[in-house]
Symmetry: C2
Subunit: 280 residues, 2 copies
Amino acid sequence: MELWYKEEHSPNVKFSIKVDKHLYSHTSRFQRIDIMESNEFGRFLTLDSSMMLTEKDEFIYHEMMVHVAMAIHPNVKRVLVIGGGDGGVVRELTKYPSIDEIDLVEIDEMVVEACKAWLPQTACKLEDARVQIYYVDGLRFIRAKENHYDLIIVDSTDPFGPGEGLYTKAFYGNCFKALTDKGILINQHESPYYSEHAASLKRAYASLEGCFPITQFYQAHIPTYPTGYWLFGFASKAYHPIEDLDEEKWNQLGIETDYYNTTLHRGAFALPNYIQKLLK
Amino acid sequence: MELWYKEEHSPNVKFSIKVDKHLYSHTSRFQRIDIMESNEFGRFLTLDSSMMLTEKDEFIYHEMMVHVAMAIHPNVKRVLVIGGGDGGVVRELTKYPSIDEIDLVEIDEMVVEACKAWLPQTACKLEDARVQIYYVDGLRFIRAKENHYDLIIVDSTDPFGPGEGLYTKAFYGNCFKALTDKGILINQHESPYYSEHAASLKRAYASLEGCFPITQFYQAHIPTYPTGYWLFGFASKAYHPIEDLDEEKWNQLGIETDYYNTTLHRGAFALPNYIQKLLK
């Protein structure tokens, strides 16, 4: 018997992975959660059939969500992660002894439970003493916060569907308020390649630009995400993503990474012309 | 009826594109050539069922094969293109009035004929007065040349199968000899992500390093190639890919590009840690 997981990257493009074993399937109050084992990518997690992460390439996404901001902001003490119940962003954050507090706001407790059981590679640091998990809606959680976090990382699903509220001007405005005076917001922005995604990217970028004095996008190559080309949003109250990069300081920390380095950091902000035109 | 083109990216990974119309199919002395029309990517060319190019994203590959070297070498007069019968590399080269001579060595005349008929987007400059096409084996052609080309671009198929000879030390040695004293060689190196490709990449890199004093890899995002992450080889007798980049001079040329720019040029050489480890 052959078992194949198929994802629609667009109505005209499909990506298929041969599955060795369907390890876990559960429908929570919010979504269907599946974890599968594959020969090519190790275990992988899908939510409502959309690829969230694979063991083989999750390091790229999680490192790029965390280390870019950490190499810029000189003094991150308190971090908020919205979404990210798989624990990958938290794992990267716990590499910094200087961080005191990591609040993880995940709407769906079942995602965290499933990942603790089946994806220890990402969930391994959720028990770190600095981590506090809140099983609530991130949109609601953020409203009550003011001048508290040095870094907010929005590790959400797509900018269309259930995660849509996390790409609005109202939400970004609340993040701005929840951040300290030199705070940074990082979020993921999909691939701009397929036309329907390009439209949501433009909207999200405009909203982000309306709320923060410094807004830039940066890129990474993530093979199992549609098109393999992924954009991240960088929004900041004070620090510039290149001018305020402290390469020497970050390299002295001795943090081990498989994708990120401070030379690549600069390169990640060097976008192709077609993306620059799209964002204009 | 639904028609889908399916490509195996590995035995465990498949990529499928919905096809509107199968425009052309012919089996030449060397290979099977197909051109299809798709809603998502426009027309696309396959050789022996492997994706060669799509109208939507060929600009990325062809710009990165040409402009990186052209922004480094100050005086390219004579260029040899091996493979590349689709004409995309030639099209980018003809944007430089300073180039006097473009020799295109394509083993399979049918590829050129098919592209002239069905892919004018890439084949549009094959009639340029500076272009001379030779329908011969590149391995043989290069042996007779000495101290002639300022730039050699090897736009071949994969480093396994029919194109394998274009990734050997013997071939690179002949390229070295065919280049002028400050000449540059550019070739394409697939994606390093799937383990079988990583092995051929390491071999090819070692061969290249054995022949040229300066050897580096650079990267681009190409959505319709396996994993979307692509590496290119840069081998040079004298010029360094970053130190000898003349940004101002290149930008003054006013060449229009949709992917390449001189900031991205620097970023393209900033490889992730896992690639650096692989190449060590």
